[in-house]
Symmetry: C2
Subunit: 482 residues, 2 copies
């Protein structure tokens, strides 16, 4: 039995610097040609030039009659011109190509009787009046899109208008995910009862989704048992085709945590252990000049370490820039002590109570995936801080749309399943309403109500002396209140 | 030859109210069951309950030794307990299932010699110390996700942890797009030269991308000629399977614009003509209780009318909420007169010059797709306004990330292709740098520089009297400046 200690625990900032400065995503990125019709969301690998002008022919810019402007010169209401349909005046609709020999459009509204033949023209028109001329939008040879631009639906339109049907884009980086753990069972087998001591392997589903959000394509390898030879073989196979590898987990310092050794045997370990919580058991390394990350096993740790280390590299390879999350000033509902020397990420629910947005902490355990599912935001406790103080404003990173927060009913107290029903009923009544429920016990709920941290509190407490539910406690809690 | 006038031009607000109040997306939406592993980004069609507890078994929360806490009671450094490996103490790693008969974990760091057998325990541990107990995260029967919730990667993880492998979600609404126009050629034929008078059909690609962004799935029908019978037949066929139909275009009042008639013949027209620019030739109707939109033919009009009318309905059917675009206070680089009675959307480039963000208008023609491609934002001129004033602050809706704007070099003046090269060079130097180039002519560029509206201006003007380039004009432009 051999245990290791963390090789060289680094601060979050140091670890990011060591890892991100080691790779040059622009130099590592690959390009591929795709049809423009399938290029939405992709990033141009070079500038794209127009192959033809757009419009490619003069077009009517109004509904009316295409004419030669010269034929209308001198026309007045007193001395109108008569233009024969099909010879001197041609009915034309917006967007249609001009008839040869014509160079102007008379708007239908300006012709006294548009059904007549000939039509009467009472005013002169000038050449190119109401005509979109060749190349008005794009001239052949002109740059349609610069390099490094994300292709929007309208950029697809512009490319097609410019006669460009295929375009060179950054290839989506391929990220291999290797789940490790003798105790893990694939989720495809979850419909059966799990054998004793076996756990469902769901982190690869979470990581695959995060890879896609960052602009990559995930490929999940079969589960590898806790065995150095097997893990090293799987890593070697993955690194041959992938642009990046995530090993999940085996990155801790336990007896059967072989991720460090596997990376070390094939390449170089840059960081083993990051002073962040959740997320400490993170290994960062390089194999065959490609980034390899040992991602922690607890799901919340896996997500947060992915965001810090994997996401920026994947986005960089894809040519995308990750937008920082919007932030909002919030007030913690309670003191949140935190260990100095660690950057801590605290999941919170958010709701507006009175004129403040109250941040109520969710369970802080890294194994508690529901703490992420229920979170509206993240509070970050910096490395040198001993924690956050109750009711002292801090910035929260938002995990939901800012508008969601104003529609949130904050319920703190004893939990009851009727709150789940209420969530559904509220939402059916109005999409903008949400219910955020924190299970802090009956007395915690009453205190939250008294201190203006919640809209609603669940309570079921029996006072044995008076044999009464709740009321004595409410009376006691509110004593001295206005 | 028959021309129609717009049946009943409505203001943008009236048209939205008539259209959006006519449909109840929640009642119309359909549900389908999908594997949880493929459910990222989908929206739950009902509350989802845990099928099993998570963890499903007691787990070690630390690396160390699983023991029966009772076996350690009374241990002190003076009277340590010896626990035999494999009988009273079991090496265990974080996340692994507890050994039967054990109820606590002693951290490896607290054991003097972890390699020894028996190990020495110098302090008592209490039951459930460093153990994640069954159901700590999720209890069977508990609600994992409420109805109407967008499924994140971590929500996928929570569902799988709760033994849920398939989930009922809103079906993505199916949107049929019918391109109409005798002059249109499919983009699959764009590699050849276009025959005289034919135009590439690229709007269906733009609209398909916008449908996907709103949460729907687009199906593009073959191009329909300008012919009422053919269009009505195509609409009838599309409405049989689609949740919504977009006809593009034929929605204007030209002689061959049959969209109004096709909708009218099979259902009801609610709106024909919207007082917005671009986007006026919009038809809104109902066929078989499903929304049918006649989308304008000019690409910018098609995009803007889609955003106002199609996007909210598609998102509603998908169960998603469209986040409003972020806005920023900007200063128009020039007066922007606009026709009262119309809501106008002006595409602008944005860049910070000094302490202000300057909005420079792009070409206002609805056929100019590049005006959208190059736009960083939209200025909205309200219906009752006569336009926006130079240097008077207004809110711009952002089409790019706010951070992009600070890295934008604003170039106004005479255009030159070297500016396209410069764009690429800048971006290769630093991803955060962009170049936004407005072609306002040499003198316009000099004036923009003088007035602090640009960082750089292109100029090539010859003064014939002195036979000198540029300098006399710069001198004249700057006369009287500090």
């Amino acid at each position: 039995m051999k245990r290791r200690i963390y090789l060289s625990m680094k601060s979050l900032a140091e670890a990011r610097e060591l890892w991100l400065s080691r790779f040059d995503p622009d130099a590592m990125a690959k390009a591929e040609e795709v049809p423009v019709t399938a290029a939405a969301g992709r990033v141009t690998a070079g500038p794209v030039m127009a192959q033809r002008s757009s419009p490619g022919a003069h077009q009517a810019a109004m509904d009316g009659f295409a004419v030669a402007a010269a034929a209308t010169f001198g026309a007045t209401p007193d001395r109108p011109r008569q233009l024969a349909i099909g010879q001197e005046a041609f009915p034309i609709n917006t967007g249609h190509v001009m008839v040869p020999g014509t160079d102007a459009v008379i708007m239908v509204e300006q012709v006294p009787d548009p059904e007549a033949d000939p039509i009467t023209v009472e005013a002169p028109t000038f050449p190119w009046q109401h005509v979109r001329r060749v190349g008005e939008d794009l001239v052949r040879g002109e740059m349609v899109l610069a390099e490094g631009v994300e292709i929007t639906p309208w950029a697809q339109g512009a490319l097609l208008a410019a006669g460009v049907t295929r375009v060179m884009v950054r290839r989506r980086p391929r990220v291999a995910i290797i789940p490790t753990g003798t105790e893990l069972v694939p989720v495809t087998e979850l419909d059966r009862d799990l054998p004793d001591g076996r756990l469902p392997e769901f982190n690869s589903t979470i990581l695959s989704g995060l890879v896609a959000e960052a602009g990559g394509v995930a490929a999940v390898a079969p589960i590898v048992r806790d065995d150095l030879g097997g893990l090293a073989a799987a890593l070697k196979e993955a690194i041959a085709t992938a642009d990046m590898v995530l090993i999940n987990a085996g990155s801790s310092a336990g007896t059967e945590d072989y991720t460090y050794q596997a990376i070390d045997s094939l390449g170089e370990v840059l960081v083993h252990g990051v002073a962040m919580m959740p997320g400490k058991p993170t290994v960062l390394g390089v194999v065959a000049e490609k980034p390899v990350m040992g991602n922690p096993g607890y799901p919340v740790s896996a997500v947060l370490s992915f965001e810090q280390f994997a996401a920026p590299l994947i986005a960089g390879l894809a040519g995308k820039r990750l937008a920082p999350r919007p932030t909002l000033t919030v007030y913690p509902a309670q003191n949140l002590p935190s260990k100095p020397g660690l950057t801590e990420f605290i999941r919170v629910t958010l709701g507006r109570v009175g004129d403040k947005i109250i941040a109520t902490p969710l369970p802080r355990g890294a194994g508690t995936i529901t703490s992420l599912v229920r979170a509206d935001g993240l509070l970050v406790v910096p490395e040198l801080s001993e924690g956050l103080e109750e009711d002292r404003p801090v910035a929260a990173e938002l995990l939901v749309a800012p508008a969601d927060i104003d529609g949130t009913l904050v319920v703190l107290g004893s939990h009851d399943n009727t709150l789940d029903l209420l969530t559904t009923m509220l939402r059916r009544r109005d999409h903008r309403l949400r219910l955020s429920s924190g299970h802090v016990g009956s007395l915690g709920g009453l205190m939250a109500l008294r201190q203006g941290r919640a809209h609603l509190g669940g309570s079921h407490m029996l006072d044995p002396e008076t044999n009464t539910y709740n009321v004595p406690f409410i009376t006691a809690t509110w004593r001295g209140c206005p």
